[in-house]
């Protein structure tokens, strides 16, 4: 079971350590005062990567090779020279996703950014290359921004059986996969629908707003998506999505986590649908299904149940490799841990800034 979790927040990076059952305390801080948009703990060499959103000074990337004791700024993905003849050539605005390559690809990293470029590094982030095949795909040019001015890639799911097989999720750009490490791409998303589009366009796969895409480690053809207007599940790759209609809680939300060993078990952080975005009745809950979305448990023990208006962003929910420990961070600075698969939760000992991402490692 994990004993360390990181919270990337609007005001820095916070490392929490488990000090006892349900007792998680701050062990270290970094980048205090600076927004941290994403964190990666590389399981292959234990390096830490922190993506910063410095606003006026741009998006930056730092790496630590000593467990977070010290950090070095390294290269950030760059759009230098990309579409230089365009009326408004692109520039990096946010590092929104960071994932390691395969277990045998030490040093290989993937980054998803706003605007919607996918980048690959083969040298632990010392340099990055834009995946041109996706960037230049005419269907990619149909993407549009959701909460941000530009679209972005927020989910990168490497297939543990073959690291050349990746699936990605973009807002608003649907779900895509590659079987050749990004040389060619296939647009998935059949079965999804977008309520916000004109009716005749609602099933257009390239503009689906998949808020978050996750893949089951033990059954990598099985995916879940928390979509802008609902929950979807696929069991044969990133097509043939089946919409789930929960009766116990709102279908809107950003975050989803899937059990690493059981593709039918997933967790969600629901909120009243899109124009409101707060927990129904001011009660923070986690919805869990164990039967592929046929039914849900609405889990409340240990979570605030009176006048709580925490929203959980798309990277604000994580599960450890055991499948038992979950972490959830909110826009109101709440951080809760569960050590029993979501049945009960305990609040970490801290009042945090707004949480952008939580990650075990």
């Amino acid at each position: 079971m994990a004993d360390r979790v990181f919270a990337a927040t609007r005001k820095g990076l916070f490392e929490f350590r488990r000090r006892g059952a349900g007792d998680w305390q701050v062990a270290s801080t970094a980048f205090l005062g600076s927004p941290v948009s994403m964190l990666l703990v590389d399981p292959r060499d234990r390096a830490l990567y922190a993506a910063l959103d410095l606003g006026h000074f741009g998006a930056k990337l730092h790496r630590s090779d000593d467990g977070g004791a010290s950090w070095t700024e390294i290269a950030a993905p760059s759009y230098a020279g990309v579409d230089a003849d365009a009326a408004s050539p692109p520039s990096l605005k946010l590092i929104w996703a960071l994932e390691p390559g395969g277990p045998d690809e030490v040093g290989v990293l993937w980054a998803g950014t706003i605007p919607g470029g996918l980048f690959r590094s083969s040298d632990r982030g010392e340099s990055w290359s834009l995946v041109r095949s996706l960037w230049e795909d005419p269907r990619r040019k149909q993407w549009f921004g959701g909460g941000f001015d530009d679209p972005g890639i927020h989910s990168i799911c490497v297939d543990p059986r073959d690291p050349r097989r990746l699936a990605i999720g973009a807002s608003c750009g649907g779900v895509w996969d590659t079987t050749d490490a990004g040389e060619t791409w296939r647009l998935g998303g059949t079965g999804m629908r977008a309520e916000y589009l004109p009716p005749e366009e609602s099933d257009a796969p390239e503009t689906q707003d998949a808020h978050r895409l996750v893949r089951c480690a033990a059954d990598p053809d099985c995916f879940w998506v928390q979509h802008h207007n609902g929950v979807f599940r696929a069991t044969k790759g990133v097509d043939d999505w089946r919409e789930i209609h929960p009766s116990t809680h709102p279908a809107f939300g950003f975050a989803v986590a899937v059990h690493p060993a059981d593709p039918r078990t997933a967790w969600f952080a629901p909120a009243v649908k899109d124009e409101f975005r707060y927990p129904a009745d001011g009660r923070v809950v986690v919805a869990r299904t164990r039967d592929g979305g046929e039914s849900f448990d609405v889990l409340t023990e240990g979570l605030p149940q009176e006048h709580a208006y925490d929203l959980v962003y798309r990277h604000g929910l994580d599960i450890d490799p055991s499948g038992e420990t979950l972490a959830m961070g909110s826009t109101t600075g709440g951080l809760w841990l569960s050590e029993d698969g979501g049945d009960s939760w305990s609040a970490a000992r801290a009042r945090l800034p707004p949480v952008y991402a939580v990650r075990f490692g």
């Binding site: 410095l54 606003g55 006026h56 000074f57 741009g58 930056k60 700024e73 950030a76 760059s78 759009y79 230098a80 990309v82 230089a84 050539p89 692109p90 520039s91 990096l92």
Partner: protein, 89 residues
């Protein structure tokens, strides 16, 4: 040589004191600083080499248009001050 002062918010990546810089233009002067301050450029300019949106440049006491300031000719006596807007919470 023109003298450039940077906001203290850039002290991790740029000069901490007013610095004399070679260069006919502000863009040239910033390039001349790169060997000593390799990260500085990425904090001031975006991926396409444009001055970032919330960076302000004063030359001889006058704020200059962002779109053209990098090409602005500098005099030997020019005083340049580079800082950023602060906002939010």
């Amino acid at each position: 040589m023109a003298t450039i002062s940077f906001t203290p918010h850039l002290r991790q990546v740029g000069p901490t004191r007013p610095t004399a810089c070679c260069g006919a233009t502000l863009g040239d002067a910033l390039r001349a600083l790169e060997p000593d301050y390799p990260l500085l450029r990425g904090y001031l300019l975006d991926d396409q080499g444009r001055l970032r949106r919330h960076i302000a440049v004063f030359v001889d006491g006058v704020m200059r248009p962002r779109e053209s300031v990098l090409g602005l000719a500098l005099a030997e006596t020019s005083d340049v001050y580079i800082f950023q807007a602060l906002s939010g919470g």
